[in-house]
């Protein structure tokens, strides 16, 4: 009976629902990191004004706040859709885990959104209405509100990757929270928050550097540009180093709780000890590789031991590959991880036991009749979600997206460390180090010989400024790639091991969701085009506009 699994859900509808959520999330994440990053920089600029009382710093702060405001509205607009899409497109999900998942969203609203929306109004309209100290506090509180918002939504997202602090209740047919602190301060959430927020600061810094370099290229607003670059490079350097450190911690968490995601990120078909980190390999971006029959990805070049170290903090650590996970493997602590097929079987046992238990309750069966089914359910509950899989291959996420997104993110992350490091040495006169670095850069022809002994970033060759401007879209690509890894790597699960996407959806038809997808695509794209156009015009006008 259990061999012929069939869910009467339109596959097109699931795909369109996933596409709609992905579209909204990707667009939302174009605006949020700039909000988070720019908030830090404009906060620092206004703090400089508060401390020095120089009109110049007020102009700097107001200029970046103006650009912040244009971007902020789109973040808010796309954010509301995301929250409600959990209900509109993922109805089963909303009930099945709403008892846990709803709380962070509600706290986000109460704690963060009101703070953000109240103080952003004071920041824009309060320059002449509140004291400078109160205004400065409002500017920082706007950024703090956005950051607290990020905390709670990332707590919610981390819980989907690593569900903790909950128990299944067969009578209500849902998971229920039993430990709030475990949910709110899950180590996965802390890693995710640190990595996500810190990497957002890179976008804020890259944005400020790009705009400032455009002014330097045009030889205007040079004072504003230089001072803004100085703030941005410090923020950017700290953030890019921090992103690398927190990224390492995140990778370890993924290795522990989502080994399939890590294997897909690495295109690691067959794992083992002493695993090298793949520097490059040929993975066709448009085709799932034949992981079952290939020993490893073609043209693979790896960094010896690096993957074992990244995943386990031990260069000899064991990292399972995709086939190991599919067929079962022995963990480093000696325990056995079942194969996917065994998990699927146990998941079906759990589902069948739950169905029988519910029938029994409905018919008024005595407790002793129901007890064995409860025991069977509890014994196999860990694999409940696997009962919805029809084939073990469904447990493997799409490897090319994970593999390439991870490489793009890490590669660009390293580039940003280099970029902000060099820029710091160029923008500041750090005794001895700056001179040596500039001399070195002059020797290899990166900067003109005339610039080697002075820290003047206003007279560099034009290509330097263009290079800095190009770094901005690269920062966005790196940030979005990180989310692609996080979300594609979790597939097929909406909640890891608990609920696959096709059991989490609403009962809609594909046409309806396709239509709203197209409407949102047109709307968001048009609004993005308007926003970019307005931002460019505003930058062209400059701070005196």
């Amino acid at each position: 009976m259990l061999q012929n699994l069939f869910l009467n859900i339109d596959a097109g509808m699931i795909d369109w629902s996933r596409a709609q959520f992905a579209l909204t999330a990707i667009y939302h994440w174009l605006f949020v990191p700039l909000t988070l990053g720019l908030a830090v920089i404009m906060g620092i600029a206004e703090t400089c004004y508060y401390r020095t009382k120089k009109r110049f710093w007020k102009d700097v702060a107001k200029f970046w706040q103006k650009l912040f405001g244009i971007n902020f509205a789109m973040g808010v607009a796309t954010g509301i859709i995301l929250e409600f899409e959990f209900g509109t497109n993922w109805s089963n999900y909303s009930w099945f885990v709403g008892d846990i998942f709803g709380a962070p969203l509600a706290i986000e609203g109460i704690l963060a959104f009101f703070m953000e929306s109240t103080f952003v109004a004071v920041m824009f309209f309060g320059w002449k209405k509140v004291s400078p100290g109160f205004h400065l506090a409002s500017t920082w509180l706007t950024g703090l509100g956005a950051t607290i918002s990020a905390w709670w939504i990332l707590v919610a997202n981390a819980w989907m990757q690593y569900p903790v602090g909950c128990e299944f209740n067969p009578d209500t047919m849902r998971h229920e929270m039993v430990d709030f602190m475990a949910v709110a301060f899950s180590p996965f959430a802390i890693d995710k928050f640190c990595h996500t927020v810190i990497s957002s600061w890179i976008i804020g810094a890259a944005f400020v550097v790009a705009v400032s370099c455009w002014y330097l290229l045009k030889k205007r607003e040079q004072h504003l540009a230089v001072e803004s670059i100085k703030i941005a490079v410090v923020v950017g350097l700290i953030a890019s180093l921090g992103a690398a450190a927190t990224g390492h911690k995140s990778a370890q968490s993924v290795g522990e709780v989502q080994p399939m995601k890590l294997a897909a990120m690495e295109a690691l078909y067959n794992g083992g000890t002493d695993q090298g980190l793949t520097a490059i390999a040929w993975i066709n971006p448009f085709k799932q590789p034949d992981y079952a029959n290939e020993a490893e990805a073609p043209l693979k070049i790896d960094m010896p031991y690096a993957l074992s170290f990244m995943a386990t903090n031990d260069i000899h650590g064991y990292v399972p590959g995709i086939n190991d996970i599919l067929n079962g493997y022995t963990r480093s602590d000696g325990t056995q991880e079942p194969s996917i097929e065994e998990k699927m079987e146990r998941g079906r046992v759990a589902i069948a036991a739950l169905a029988t238990y519910r029938e029994g309750v409905k018919d008024g069966s005595p407790e002793e009749v129901l007890r064995p089914y409860m025991a069977m359910l509890q014994e196999n509950m860990k694999y409940f979600g696997y009962g919805y899989l029809r084939d073990k291959s469904e447990a493997v996420p799409y490897i090319p997206v994970n593999f390439w997104s991870f490489r793009i993110m890490v590669g660009l992350g390293c580039l940003f460390i280099l970029f902000f490091g060099v820029l710091t040495l160029m923008a500041f006169d750090i005794p001895v180090i700056s001179i040596i670095a500039r001399r070195l850069l002059a020797t290899i022809g990166v900067i003109p010989e005339t610039q080697a002994d002075k820290g003047d970033i206003t007279a560099l060759p034009a290509w330097h400024y263009w290079a800095a401007i190009i770094m901005l879209p690269l920062a966005y690509i790196a940030s979005e790639s990180g989310w692609l890894v996080a979300e594609f790597g979790r597939q097929p699960w909406t909640i890891q091991d608990m609920l696959p996407t096709w059991a989490a959806v609403s009962n809609l038809n594909a046409g309806s969701v396709m239509l709203t997808f197209i409407l949102f695509l047109i709307l968001f794209t048009t609004m993005l085009a308007v926003e970019i156009c307005i931002l460019l015009k505003q930058i062209k006008k400059g701070p005196q506009s």
Binding site: L2, Q3, G87, S94, G102, F114, T118, A355, S506, L508
Partner: protein
């Protein structure tokens, strides 16, 4: 603190957020009449800048209302949002348009032109309150859904291809996914009542917030044109509500059944809600009446606003307290949502109960900042010399 208390407490919090949201719809109401109230381009800009300093509150309250509903009554979230898909998508769509319209409309580089975004604000100003009002009406009129929690386990163990069932717990019983609600005339009556209420509050707010004699004098006249249809529609709906059969729950068996005059009984049983309703209505009438009759009185938004919160709060609580199914199903009576069958676990409600202690603190800083920003009324000069949309 019993589970039952927590269910009623969270119903109160969600209803309060809903009531504050209806008050804050003055932003939408004012935008919907900006053209006639502002009259000139400069006058319209004053109105958009006046509501532009408050739109975030409406938006945030809507989001928090959704979040609080999700946390405390997740079955409503999954049933209503997943079922009445098109109704909620339309609401969200108009709010997205509104969110960007303030910032974008008068900026150079806006290649769609200011009129496009002003149209979006008007669209949101009409459709937002109308559809939200319609959604509220479904708490009394019912919606077309069926809930079967067994679907989640019955679907994957079904062996017969033809008889396989959908795994989705909450199913909408027709293909219109929420738009069917708009075919019910009483849903439309309350929807239009909320729309005209939002206009009334919007005019009162602008008269208070904008220091412009032309706008204030036009406001007094426009107010009558919005308040009269509001009052007619509201009274009609209230009478209908008090006379209609309601969806009652047997507290012992949890069975849902139709009870004649249920909502009238609720108000009589919960006399304190009736008093709150009456105070609310009187305050709304006072705010409107005094503004119309007294030439120099511009503070009508405050009594009318407080009255709105009290009235909506009492109506929402009447839909759920006293053993009432707050989200009734017209397709399957026993699928109707009650506080008991749709709420979160006791642990979650208790945890969120402690979180709700933050609400007064949040309200305090909102009021403080609101007063600071509005201490000096908005003028044309301020638009020239300060940050403006």
């Amino acid at each position: 603190m019993t589970y039952e208390f927590l269910q009623h407490y969270w119903c109160f919090i969600v209803s309060l957020l809903g009531a504050i949201l209806v008050f804050l719809l003055f932003v939408q109401g004012a935008n919907s009449v900006a053209r006639s109230l502002g009259y000139t381009d400069e006058g319209q800009r004053l109105i958009y800048n006046s509501t532009g300093r408050k739109w975030e509150f409406t938006f945030t309250t809507l989001v928090t209302f959704g979040g609080a509903f999700f946390a405390s009554f997740p079955l409503f979230y999954s049933t209503s949002f997943g079922g009445a898909y098109w109704l909620w998508m339309l609401i969200l769509f108009t709010f997205v348009l509104q969110a960007v319209s303030y910032e974008f409309q008068n900026k150079i580089g806006n290649f769609l032109g200011p009129r496009t975004f002003q149209f979006f604000l008007t669209l949101n100003g009409i459709l937002g309150p109308l559809l939200l009002g319609g959604a509220v009406a479904t708490f009394f009129e019912g919606s077309n859904f069926i809930i079967e929690k067994g679907n989640l386990v019955n679907a994957p163990i079904s062996s017969d291809f033809q008889s396989a069932v959908s795994p989705v717990i909450s199913q909408w019983a027709n293909a219109s996914h929420g738009l069917d609600a708009l075919l019910n005339p009483w849903v439309l009556v309350l929807g239009f009542a909320v729309m005209f209420l939002a206009r009334t509050l919007g005019i009162l707010y602008v008269m208070n917030n904008v220091a412009d004699e032309d706008i204030r004098s036009r406001g007094s006249k426009r107010l009558v044109g919005s308040a009269i249809p509001f009052l007619i529609l509201f009274v009609a709906y209230l009478v209908h509500l008090l006379l209609k059969d309601g969806y009652a729950v047997d507290p012992v068996t949890a069975k849902i059944y139709m009870e004649p005059y249920k909502y009238l009984h609720n108000f009589l049983d919960m006399w304190y809600l009736l008093i709150i309703l009456l105070i609310g209505v009187v305050l709304v009438l006072f705010g409107i009446g005094k503004t119309v009759l007294s030439k120099n009185y511009v503070k009508g938004i405050w009594p009318a606003g407080i009255g709105t919160v009290l009235t909506v709060l009492s109506l929402l609580l009447c839909s759920a307290w006293n053993n009432t199914a707050y989200y009734p199903s017209t397709a399957d009576l026993q699928s109707s949502l009650t506080l008991q069958n749709s709420c979160s676990s006791e642990f979650t409600l208790r945890t969120m109960f402690y979180v709700s202690f933050l609400v007064p603190f949040v309200l305090a800083y909102i009021i403080y900042c609101w007063r600071k920003i509005d201490a000096k009324k908005l003028t044309k000069e301020e638009l020239q010399n300060d940050h403006a949309y």
